[in-house]
Symmetry: D3
Subunit: 265 residues, 6 copies
């Protein structure tokens, strides 16, 4: 008999609310609960290197709090994976980024994948993520619909159409065999985009919706008792970090299940 699994989502932006966890739970099967928190300080949305940088400290803090409150795995709710590697240092339960996980899922499903991102400026950023995750050879292209994150809901039909157009180009011009929605803010659009792709003749290409896919992998790792390598992500040394000590809750930690008891180097 397996224990129930608790997943925690960290929303790394201040401009959106927390997730409707019930809808996400429904796709995960029985005995999986999902909680969600949002960072207190950081960017309204993530659309630049600056945004990723100022999203990271709050995200790390919320990952740590999520683990301390008993989560079996924590998921960062952004393709940019802000703070992912640092967050892995501060907890022992698995921390998954929606970007890294979606790219590996895509690589398992077919030959090469393309990412459909929001802004053109993120093309470079996503292109550099693929080699960082060891997947350079599997990335066909990154294409953008040129819509800011916080405008994603302004005209849903137009967005779906743009995603299908760029997806079609990724398939026919760049050789993509799998598509990844390039922003977790596109949650809920996968069905409509798949239909719009089918209307354009593209019926043979899976479409990865990053947050749901990442939650499935997170639940699986938690059930399998697997977490990230402490050799890759050892606990950080105890030291002063003025300006961040309160946010991170430093000092000898006495957190609950899954949180790391700092023992220095």
């Amino acid at each position: 008999m397996t224990a129930a699994i608790r997943l925690h989502i960290v929303v790394p932006v201040t401009g959106m609310g927390v997730r409707d966890t019930a809808a996400l739970e429904a796709a995960l099967g029985p005995q999986v609960t999902v909680t969600c928190s949002r960072i207190d300080s950081g960017p309204a949305s993530i659309e630049s290197e600056l945004d990723e940088a100022v999203a990271a400290p709050g995200t790390i803090a919320k990952v740590r709090a999520g683990a301390a409150s008993g989560a079996d795995a924590v998921v960062i709710d952004c393709l940019g994976d802000p703070g992912l590697e640092a967050a892995r240092e501060v907890v022992t339960v698995p921390v998954l980024g929606s970007g890294q996980t979606s790219m590996h899922v895509a690589a398992m499903l077919g030959h090469r994948f393309s990412i459909l991102t929001v802004l053109r400026r993120l093309i470079r950023v996503d292109e550099e993520k693929a080699p960082r995750y060891g997947l350079a050879g599997r990335l066909a292209s990154v294409r953008s619909v040129d819509v800011p994150v916080l405008d994603l809901n302004h005209d849903r039909d137009q967005l779906v159409g743009s995603l299908a157009e760029e997806g079609l180009r990724a398939v026919s011009e760049d050789g993509a065999h799998v598509l990844v929605l390039g922003c977790t803010g596109m949650l809920g659009l996968a069905g409509a985009v798949a239909a719009a792709l089918a209307a354009r003749g593209v019926r043979d290409v899976p479409l990865v919706d990053p947050l749901p896919a990442t939650l499935q992998v997170a639940a699986g790792l938690a059930r399998a008792g697997l977490s990230h390598s402490r050799r890759s992500y050892p606990a950080p040394p105890v030291k002063d970090r003025p300006g961040y000590d309160t946010m991170l809750g430093a000092g000898p930690l006495r957190a609950g299940r899954g949180a790391l008891a700092y023992r220095g180097r």
Copy 2:
């Protein structure tokens, strides 16, 4: 409310029995059932390119039969992934290889991974699998314990010791941050190997047990409604394949859920 998930395991060798599916089900949470079949013709075990080649046709046939009987996802129970790509052509439900999936899981967990295989001759074979799956840069090394597959159960303590010794070398000499058991015939040893690694001072390195890890990912993909790309793995053309037509059950297929209705090219 999610539907129950049915996973099917194909054992691609004739020298071992089918799996104890109840034990595997227990780790997968409620509403997941696991079935298992074994190939009728093919090698007693897989330890050479020849073995992989003669394991493939039977494996493809059993994957197809598994999908036809209603499986939501099929897992090939061997690190060598015999017949994986061809099997994906003949069904529409996801087909996962224990090798490809474990390597991606390992790549998500840490910097570089090593595979602990059975025979020295498989080092090259596994080394060539990593670039094939797009993960060349994440493979630290392949090391072997030099025990034939069918002898894995002869001296369990010695095998555990050998795996821990090679794992230690992979970590200290090759820079591995994650370890993968290199044969699904090592199922059930992960706990003992982890303990033996800990006794040698290696406590910070996850150990991926391939079959359970692959089943978790298979359940997750099935729940997420994701399958391999039909653009990468389109249905094979209808044609004569003398010697294999009966085995594969060719002709216009009328199989159940998940099986492919051949429509030619």
Copy 3:
């Protein structure tokens, strides 16, 4: 005084006849004889991963028989190289695949090469072969004429035109400096395709006809006394392989020159 060289061609499909060996011998110089056999079971043609998988066992058997009958080198007559690595395990004389050999020849002749394949679905397959042979950086592109293998002879003029069109695109759009005919079923077309390319202004790009080029390299390796590495391709362990034992002729082998005396691991 060098000994005469005997080359053996294995046709790995059931839908075509054996080769006109006299024509092939003529290009190889004196004292080279060519024999040819065809598999007894397997696909009518090779156009999918499934076809490659079911072509492999018969090909391995025929390679072994060819070596046992005294061949100095064996050539697999298909760009897909079905069973190549396994076949190398079962004989000591060199076994060459038309795909691997043509790609290395192309890489020696110029900067980057493109492959002109039959069906679009084989583009991915051929793209994955290049990194497998260590030549990822030399592949400019794979392009297809979208003609099934067994229809290659239906309209020869149209096929030549299509090959020249795709070759022109490979050169002008993809940067190819060398072209490889992507199917040994195109044997005999090289002259016409070169003329059609010249008519389109492409006169500075060599065109590799895979089977003749591979036979030349095979003769050279045989004369040089070189064969594949037994460390890469050691003899397979003696074991039961039900369903294939008769085909492969297993048991202690007493084959002639070049065939391997199985001694187990």
Copy 4:
């Protein structure tokens, strides 16, 4: 007649003081002035992903302030290059990381380079930086002396000896032809380390001292009128970033020479 060049150094840690700029100026030739600032909030030293993450926001702010006060180029004084890419988004003058610049300098000087870092845990971090900067093929190894940053001054002789020992191993075992001191906290040790290497027989390998080398390149780029690509690092969108707005000085910027006038996307 060239204008005088003003370089600004940002110290991205709170546990060390600002640099002795006069000593650094002396090596840069006439008409180069160097100023230095230190972050107000952030880690005492940088020895983990967490440290890099919490160093970034303050570093970005100080880079911006440095540019606003008239610097012609800004240098981040840490091998880890915290905040480098985000900092490039917020100013138009060149921003150089000591890590990226030193690796390129090393790659220009010889075949492969090794980095001699402080703590073993940074080996992975530095190994991942090389491919990020496009230099994976030039990195021979990363080796550590296992001394925390803030202890670098405790026993200078022992540190020099350890650096020489690891440097010797990098040369003789890993094939390094160039060595890079792996922490700008080692400033001033290059001469002693070179002597200690010479005493161990290594006289033919350049030793790159990161901060001075980076300042030289920064002066050169400034004189050549070259800065980072605004296409790679466009100005970030105007938006709320609660918790960081004051630090970054957001709102329409009216900064001096080299600072970016935000115009949104």
Copy 5:
């Protein structure tokens, strides 16, 4: 107080004069002097592998002479870097190629760079230089304006227009974020090309003028006391090289500062 720096430029072609060193000095700041010499034998211009090959011996000789006359660093004035590696063997002061240095500068400034070369035939040559310098992953493309080197001055306006057109294509079609003028014979055009690019809407992409950029790096390396690795480029053995002994000035060398005293292997 730093010593004055002496840079020496070697022009590796016989069809052009020496450089106006005063103009180049002006951009390098005080206390930098520039001298220049031209090879005595070799090609009128460098536009083929043959030209590079026959440019090399004379270039090596002039680099040696430049070092013997007291230069602190020597720069080869051609994107093709003829004789670069051999020249490094014969002197101890740093020898920089305009090609290698410009590519590293470009890689430091942005994501990917394109080279705008003279003749189409040099596209392959430049494409092969990038991996040689370890920068394969940073090269977006090489494009040509199809103008012979010695005709670069025939119609300056047309050349500037062609460079801007190809630069625009590199940016919009190939994903270039940085551009490199592909021939040092384009010296002096950077400002006009940047203006022409801006007129075409490309204002966010730096343009690297190879010779001035390389001189800046050369001055920086000389000031930092850095030179190429003698382990990568050891002094050549003493031996007869009939036809070149006089040109190279072989025999035990007693040259001035920076020249190598041959001591054999």
Copy 6:
């Protein structure tokens, strides 16, 4: 009936004599004739970048002369392939380098190959050749016996022993599955080295003797009517090359079969 094949060998050093062509012919089968010429000016042996540079012009001249005198293919008799790419520009018959060809042959025979070179200083040089030929992923290592080329004949037994020792290390420590003799000056030693390797337990690794292997491939290409790509290696422009015009025989060429009629660009 195939025409007889004429191969021409160019010895690119002045310190050795021409080859015993009869012995080489014997291994090539009937109707193949081999001629040989030696450069008039250039290094006594090739052991440095300087040697390669000054070997190139004479080699190009002799390749051209060889083609002009009717050779069907020309082979450069040195692992360093001096002048290879330039030589291909000046003739239309295939020009093969012993280095490039041997590496491709080795890559066809097994997983990874090692090169056994003469001097330690050539390790870097050979390591850089592999990526240049697109074979970086196939090179296991380069090892040296530390014997100058012209001393190779001083103590043959010791040389054979050293080659076997380094070969053993390449196999057991570096993972080599194929070995390449790293200097054509080792011609004739392959049998003795293979025996010495067998005496050390290495019986499963092919040993490539570069010159004979390259001649076999050259004969095969010539028979197949294949030559290098004129798109990769177009004829050089007509221009003055003072100091080399006589050597190269420039001006409108009226050479025989296989020599290029210069028509400028």
